[in-house]
Subunit: 457 residues, 2 copies
Amino acid sequence: MFNYEGILEKIGELLRSKRYAALRDLLESMEPADIAALLEDSGEEAMPLLYRLLPKELAAEVFVELEADSQEMLINGFSNTELREVLDELYLDDAADIVEEMPANVVIRILDKAAPEMRKSINELLKYPEDSAGSIMNMEFLSLKKDMTVEDAFKRIRRIGGDMETINTLYVTDPTRRLLGVLSVRDLLLAESDDLIEDIMDTNVVSVTTTDDKEDVAQAMSKYDYLSMPVVDRESRLVGIVTVDDAMDVMEEEATEDIEKMAAITPTDKPYLKTSVLDTFRARIPWLLLLMVSATFTGLIITSFEASLAVVPVLTAYIPMLMDTGGNCGSQASVTVIRALSLDEVEFSDLLSVVWKEIRVAVLCGAVLAVANFGKMMLVDRMLLGNTALTPLLAAIVCLTLVCAVAVAKFVGCTLPLMAKRIGLDPAVMASPFITTIVDALSLLIYFQFASHMLGL
Amino acid sequence: MFNYEGILEKIGELLRSKRYAALRDLLESMEPADIAALLEDSGEEAMPLLYRLLPKELAAEVFVELEADSQEMLINGFSNTELREVLDELYLDDAADIVEEMPANVVIRILDKAAPEMRKSINELLKYPEDSAGSIMNMEFLSLKKDMTVEDAFKRIRRIGGDMETINTLYVTDPTRRLLGVLSVRDLLLAESDDLIEDIMDTNVVSVTTTDDKEDVAQAMSKYDYLSMPVVDRESRLVGIVTVDDAMDVMEEEATEDIEKMAAITPTDKPYLKTSVLDTFRARIPWLLLLMVSATFTGLIITSFEASLAVVPVLTAYIPMLMDTGGNCGSQASVTVIRALSLDEVEFSDLLSVVWKEIRVAVLCGAVLAVANFGKMMLVDRMLLGNTALTPLLAAIVCLTLVCAVAVAKFVGCTLPLMAKRIGLDPAVMASPFITTIVDALSLLIYFQFASHMLGL
């Protein structure tokens, strides 16, 4: 949307000619996320210098957007005063996120320099399980009492609204902090100044608990079009809010995680180019080893059929095609079901309708593939390429296997993720590579059964 | 988060006993998205009845959340007055979305009953390309002039704010509608009532144009933590806004689309269980056919090596393992790069660093896999299973192939998506199934080359 490379170059020039005022003006004219990216790309030496040019509040906003290793580098260079200044400007949930990523010595220094109240809150936030609503919520939010007037509410917003992450949605609580209702700042603006909050608030309010999965929270916010979601503790007391910007980040992370798991990769939360070779290797090798070992079964099946393959060697040529097609059909079914599961479109109780649907799709796909393949084997392989060993009977065996392999693949592909979900496993790890291995073995078994019976081997 | 099945049952009971007042109270206590789901699950007969119980404004909110076929059914049952009432309550972007999904006869009726202004706007919105910012923007937004005071702004919000989708972010435009700045309703609340808008507005405002890809818009909103994104036309005039709830929907859709493409499925925008068997079949079969035909190459390679396989039949048993491992390595690399591309973490100019990284990962993975496989072949296949035909030389051939296949797979897997992006294709279609087919052929070629040279076949 803007000329990133050009600006990066300009920053380099201004740095070299030490035109710091111009640099500050240039940086100030941009969004925190862009400034963060520019700082990181301007080199390790320039980053602290550029960072110090930023006005205090903007500096804190940029700090939040930096990668963890850049944050660590900056903190290590900060004087105690500088560190305290940054911490004072941070929202609690951002501060807790940063603390989570830092090595112990940096954490100690941060907690030491943070205001006592922030220290306490950070400690509390860090106690929530990693993927819970509690871990991403912000404990600073604006709450109102039901017997306030609209005018009282405006006074309260004017007094403390400046320190809150958002005031677009306001929550109404009773003296024990139980959530009674919700209203938007627009409701306030459109009401009369002596209206009572309880008369204009909406008492239908969906909330989540601190231990709910953050993915479900993001999903619910998207479904209900909420800008913030109230988080309550086990005693239904309002303890925090999750804002929509954090929900978007969660959705993006979770989609990436699902995609990685589907490709047999252990998810990491770092951007690709920032992940070290060793980390990438570690995320990939366990699955490769596991899947390699499970491919042993296909090897065993072929070995047991070696003698027959030696008699009719042309059968071997179609093994890869049968395996690939089975694998592709299986991954189409599994990936569709896995995605539907994570979007809450499907659940375990839909098992029968999912299977029934996949079976019908399999029959259609199998029929078309078999006909196309029979035609191709006869016209291309036999006539065009002159492979006379390929009789119509052999082609029929391959095509029958194809139909069965497609059906088996679709069935295995759609049931395994649902089963995994049912027993509490992550459905995404049941994706293509895993299912391909199973489907390969089954396809080969079917192939060799047809071959032995129909050829009398 | 609440007992959906229980509520559905209760609705059935209340319907049977015709307790409509209780039904209305029950429905009114829920969120529009939940009411829509309940209506759809309560059966075709009950739906119009339940819908008519809803108060006007809530009814419109529920209408927007329904699936297209339910909307169509309701519209067909509406009297002209009912249709006009629903249309009057809809936001423009929602109305345009609905019109887009309806068959021609319904569209004509909607446009006929819509207020002239809405008709004009719907027509304008429908002119934007399908995946553009223009197609998802809302043309009703609140704009201010820079010489207004804060008090003037509040008056304007009180006058027309009730009809707007959001007033959380306000845009400042000049008399030719050019975007000058932005401010939040909080900025207004914290300012003095005689402050001028131009003194408190933020002139750093990122905007998108009507023709920008909606995926990029959602990405930018997530990056900048915007609740709404201003959309300008080619003359930089502010013509609409995209709100964060729509951006979240776009992100979810795009992730689903990417996942589907990666699994060789043509994306559809309907939920899994609502897609007909024929549509699912149509989305899957073209890729299966294409991939089946391309598997012909692997068949040809095996055929050309048939004579040698007959001499050393044990070689055949390792074909599936080599193919699967190559395929898995390739899909790990491709899926990682494809996701990094859609999150803007990587671009074509990073090709060299991506390749360099994947090569190092491949060396590590290849070495570990080869060692593990050599051990397994010697200990399990030869000693435990007594396959004496399996000499250390044969095992070495398999393991050497494995190392090369992993390297080739990682290389092909990471370069193809980048190439696709470069020439303007969608990188996601270059995912696993496609790459597996290429990697299979290459792995087999490597295998047979090693075998012929090292065994002198």
